[in-house]
């Protein structure tokens, strides 16, 4: 029980190491190891979530028994506990979903794929749970490098997309490292809590200014905040269809949470530079919401459209952060949760289409009559689309609602207009797809797979349908999420 926090990132890490060896012994064994590790991570994070919300105290874990500020610390507070649970559950189900794509591949390909997959999950989990700034860098790079690999595994231009992402990702990591250096230079510590304590009296030094601006650039690049999103559409579009759900659904969440952590818990809004930085983030987020939605409207390719819509959705998180009030942060964290489910579901649907019809790229025009061939997939897609638009009672509606309340509290009427406009733009491109599915003539797609009782293999269908239900459930029980979890974990400055 005491070691639960460390199990969360370590088990997937371990499974990644063992995966190749296991795969050599039996082709599928590596995959099962990864699945088991992710399931264990999920259970540990749920246990921790329950514990931390019930006791109301954060859980600290000291690596190797070294106390901070010397040792590496893992911290579980309600907010990162819920993000941990979401990351591990999404990773688990995407892992399950990916089986069908790889069922005929050799041991090396299978083992390699799942090793990368487990590394990516471990990196994201570690980024979320760690309380040490340099440790965060290490996990960030673990996640990124495995992410480059997963993206490069796709077909078409994936290698080039992956290389570009690698360059930008490394710039981001370098900027992050630099900002760590600046903060380290004035405090001499790397522990986040310690750093926060030591920074308290030097919040207006130039070092903090440099650190804040570099942090925003670094995490902005990683979470594809407009205008730093250049790498993102290609990477999401060409990623391996089995890995795209986790790449698109989760890779932007851990950096977003880290940014929240830095701006609100470590440096805190009492610094004038953070205040300015938040304004900038809000402005960029608002621009991203509009431009991402407009660009999504211009796309013909289904996955590319989803990728651009991610730019817009990240904008919501950025706007929530920038408002910096209780409701703003609630909206941001809640949107991280719900967007992880929505985006991975949408990418799973596109992957399912690729699987069934063997097309490299799925154009929106090809989707006619999909509701007859793949009814359950279509139904889940519609739920996710409605959630993206923000139709109640799906989850997407509530992040909008909290965002609206936060904007009103802060008197930011511009954001209200942006939110309304973006809902409509979202509606235009998602209803365009829905319209094509239901109204257009049946597309001439031939199914590659032989006719079976289910539209796609059960291992693919189940995650898709479950996530559809999850979107509804997270929406309906949002008051529980907000009151019992997120509110408890708000940074002290804001806690009520």
């Amino acid at each position: 029980m005491r070691h639960l926090p460390v199990l969360i990132p370590i088990l997937p890490l371990l499974s990644a190491l063992l995966c190749l060896i296991f795969s050599r012994i039996e082709r599928r064994l590596g995959k099962y190891a990864v699945l088991a590790a992710l399931a264990a991570s999920f259970f540990s994070s749920v246990l921790l979530l329950v514990k931390v919300t019930q006791s109301g105290e954060n859980i600290h874990y000291y690596m190797g028994g070294w106390m901070p500020p010397l040792g590496i610390e893992f911290v579980v507070d309600p907010i990162n506990a819920v993000i941990l649970a979401v990351i591990s559950v999404v990773a688990f189900f995407v892992c399950m979903y990916s089986q069908a794509f790889l069922k005929e591949s050799e041991w090396l390909e299978q083992g390699g794929f799942y090793a990368l997959f487990a590394l990516l999950s471990a990196g994201l989990l570690g980024m979320t749970i760690t309380g040490d700034m340099f440790n965060l860098y290490v996990f960030l790079e673990i996640a990124s490098i495995s992410g480059y690999g997963l993206i490069a595994l796709g077909r078409g231009k994936s290698v080039v997309a992956s290389f570009r992402y690698l360059l930008l990702g490394t710039i981001a990591a370098s900027f992050y490292l630099l900002s760590v250096a600046y903060l380290y230079a004035i405090t001499g510590t790397l522990n986040m809590a310690d750093m926060s304590r030591l920074l308290m009296h030097q919040l207006d030094t130039p070092n903090v200014l440099l650190a804040v601006s570099m942090l925003i650039v670094a995490f902005g690049l990683k979470m594809a905040l407009f205008p730093l999103h250049g790498w993102q559409p290609d990477a999401y579009t060409y990623a391996h269809p089995a890995a795209a759900p986790i790449v698109a659904g989760l890779m932007s969440k851990a950096p977003a949470l880290a940014l929240l952590r830095y701006l609100f818990s470590i440096i805190t809004v009492e610094s004038i530079y953070v205040e300015i930085g938040l304004k900038a983030i809000g402005f960029l987020g608002a621009c991203g919401i509009i431009l991402g939605s407009v660009m999504a409207n211009a796309q013909k390719d289904f996955r590319r459209m989803l990728a651009y819509s991610s730019v817009a959705q990240i904008g919501y998180i950025a706007v929530g952060l920038s408002l910096g009030s209780v409701y703003g942060l609630i909206a941001a964290v809640y949107h991280m949760v719900i967007h992880a489910f929505m985006k991975s579901l949408l990418f799973m649907v596109s992957g399912a289409l690729q699987y069934r019809y063997g097309e490299v790229s799925i154009s929106i025009d090809m989707l006619g009559g999909l509701n007859k061939h793949m009814p359950l997939t279509t139904a889940s897609f519609v739920v996710a689309a409605l959630s993206m638009i923000g139709i109640p009672p799906t989850g997407g509606f509530f992040s909008k609602w909290y965002l609206l309340l936060a904007s009103l509290e802060k008197g930011q009427f511009l954001f209200i207009a942006v939110i309304v406009a973006s809902s409509l733009l979202n509606a235009v491109y998602f209803f365009r797809v829905i319209e094509n599915i239901f109204i257009s003539k049946d597309a001439e797609l031939t199914s590659l797979q032989k006719e079976e009782r289910l539209e796609i293999p059960f291992s693919m269908l189940m995650p898709i349908v479950l996530f559809g239900i999850a979107i509804l459930a997270v929406g309906l029980f949002n008051s529980y999420f907000v009151e019992e979890i997120i509110r408890l974990g708000l940074p002290e400055v804001l806690a009520v």
Binding site: I391, W401, L424, A427, F431, E483
Partner: protein
């Protein structure tokens, strides 16, 4: 007195479950239709079981769960909600039978999706009626939008695709403004529970903010209620199958819009605030203009369904007009007109559909002498037309009379003039149809033999037609609807009602 009971929740959930079962039993048409019929009776039964207590002034209430951190998902049956709930749940029964007959005889495709979406629409209509606060109201309002969309594009032609788009653009854009308005309301007042007489006052915020807020809130209702200049979607949506037009564009969707306006005017802002902000005037003139213009356009339409659609636009503005005048009697009339117009318009649309299925005629000019072939259908059509025009002893007269009295009460002679003109106009666009059908010579000789519509379609038509006469004589027949209208009006205005029918 407030009765805490789960009944309102069941009334909302039964159609939703029915939709689910309908989707599951898509391969067995008879089983599928059984669910529709069962759910329609069950819903009506649950709703009407609440009538006796509500008519005594009690209120059923049920909180399902916490919807957001501060707003609860509460269903509540006050008098106004009960009125709308009764109308929409009761009318589902005849329309369900009619739809089964129509869809089967017309060999429509995608019937499973049709009936499922239909049930969801009813669920949202009942939900709209029983919502206790703006948030819940919005949930069902958006659900209605989404569930109606597949019904609009049901034909799956290019025209249907276009109408679907038009419908979505109108409803979703105003829906989002509505959401922004709800957020502002909640932020200003700290609550969004409907309160008779309103919980916002003119002093809540600066005047211009209140005026913008009113605009944000009212636009969604205005679009759904088809108030000009926001009515463009309604005639286009007539490409949908006739039962859809019948139930949704005459009952659920447009009435939800009108009901939304009543809730906003009477239960969010309240008469005092509206008058102080000068907003009632604006509404009145928009509604009056809509009545006249739509009647004029209706006269020019040859397509029967389109003609009825424009007539709907005009009649819905009666409700808005009655509400906006804010006098006790006019609000009574407005509320009762929800029921009255629903029954009459359903009859008219079902007749039009029967003609389409039986004689394959859509245009009025092709219907010369059709009354000889389908006498019962057109008799019913005539009754309903007269009702729309405001003939005494038919249900339309009661509501219109109250609105007229209300206009006198509120001392608005110009409105009186508008009402008088519009009654004449209504005669001039509906009665010619009856005349063409019965008295014009049948040149083509198509309609010489007697050939009525299918019984599953004819029976519902007769029931609603008879009902519109019965309610015209006993306005409280069956469901105490008139009592509800009166008590809701009393609640809103806080005034006593002189005249009227009680």
């Amino acid at each position: 007195m407030t009765i805490y009971s789960i009944r309102p929740f069941f009334a909302v959930v039964v159609p939703l479950f029915a939709a689910f079962f309908i989707m599951l039993s898509g391969k067995k048409p008879n089983l599928r239709e059984f669910w529709t019929v069962l759910a329609s009776f069950l819903t009506a039964f649950i709703v009407f079981s609440m009538v006796p207590e509500v008519s005594k002034g009690n209120v059923y209430q049920y909180t399902v769960f916490r919807f957001t951190d501060t707003v609860e998902f509460t269903l509540r049956t006050d008098a106004a909600g009960m009125l709308f709930g009764c109308v929409s749940s009761f009318l589902w029964i005849p329309v369900a039978f009619y739809a089964i007959g129509y869809m089967r005889q017309h060999h429509e495709k995608e019937q499973t999706g049709f009936f499922a979406a239909f049930a969801v629409c009813i669920c949202s209509a009942v939900g709209i009626a029983f919502s206790a606060n703006l948030m819940v109201f919005f949930v069902f309002f958006e659900l209605l939008t989404v569930a109606t969309y597949p019904l609009v594009f049901h034909a799956r032609t290019e025209e249907a695709r276009f109408s679907g788009r038009k419908y979505l653009i109108y409803t979703l854009s105003t829906g989002q403004l509505f959401l922004a308005g709800i957020a502002v309301t909640y932020y200003l007042a700290g609550t969004c529970d409907f309160t008779a007489g309103g919980f916002l006052s003119a002093e809540t915020a600066p005047n211009w903010i209140m005026q913008i807020l009113f605009l944000l809130l009212i636009l969604a209702g205005a679009v759904k209620a088809g108030m000009m200049p926001l009515a463009g979607w309604l005639p286009s949506a007539m490409v949908a199958p006739t039962p859809v037009s019948a139930l949704l564009h005459a009952v659920a969707v447009v009435k939800a819009g009108a009901f939304c306006m009543i809730r906003i005017c009477g239960y969010v802002f309240g008469p005092a605030a509206l008058t102080a902000l000068g907003l009632d005037q604006i509404l009145i003139w928009f509604a009056a203009a809509t009545i006249i213009i739509s009647s004029l356009i209706a006269m020019k339409q040859d397509n029967l369904k389109k003609r009825l659609a424009y007539s709907t636009i005009g009649q819905l503005s009666y409700i808005i007009l009655g509400t906006a005048m804010l006098s006790p009697l006019s609000i009574t009339g407005a509320l009762y007109h929800i029921a009255a117009h629903a029954i009459m318009k359903v009859t008219l649309f079902m007749c039009a559909g029967a003609v389409i299925v039986t004689a394959h005629k859509e245009n009025v000019s092709e219907m010369s002498g059709i009354g000889r072939r389908m006498p019962i259908t057109f008799a019913c059509f005539t009754v309903a037309s007269l009702g729309i025009a405001g003939m005494p002893f038919i249900v339309g007269f009661i509501s219109k009379w109250d609105i007229l009295l209300g206009a006198l009460e509120a001392n608005r002679p110009l409105v009186l003039a508008v009402l008088a003109i519009s009654a004449l106009l209504a005669l001039s666009y509906l009665i010619p149809v009856c005349y063409t059908a019965f008295f014009k010579e049948d040149k083509s000789g198509e309609f010489t033999a007697y050939g009525e519509a299918d019984k599953r379609m004819l029976l519902p038509i007769c029931i609603t037609a008879v009902l519109s006469v019965v309610l015209g004589i006993f306005p409280n027949f069956g469901g105490h609807l008139y009592t509800f209208a009166v008590s809701a009006a009393k609640e809103i205005t806080g005034g006593l009602i002189g005249g009227g029918f009680l």
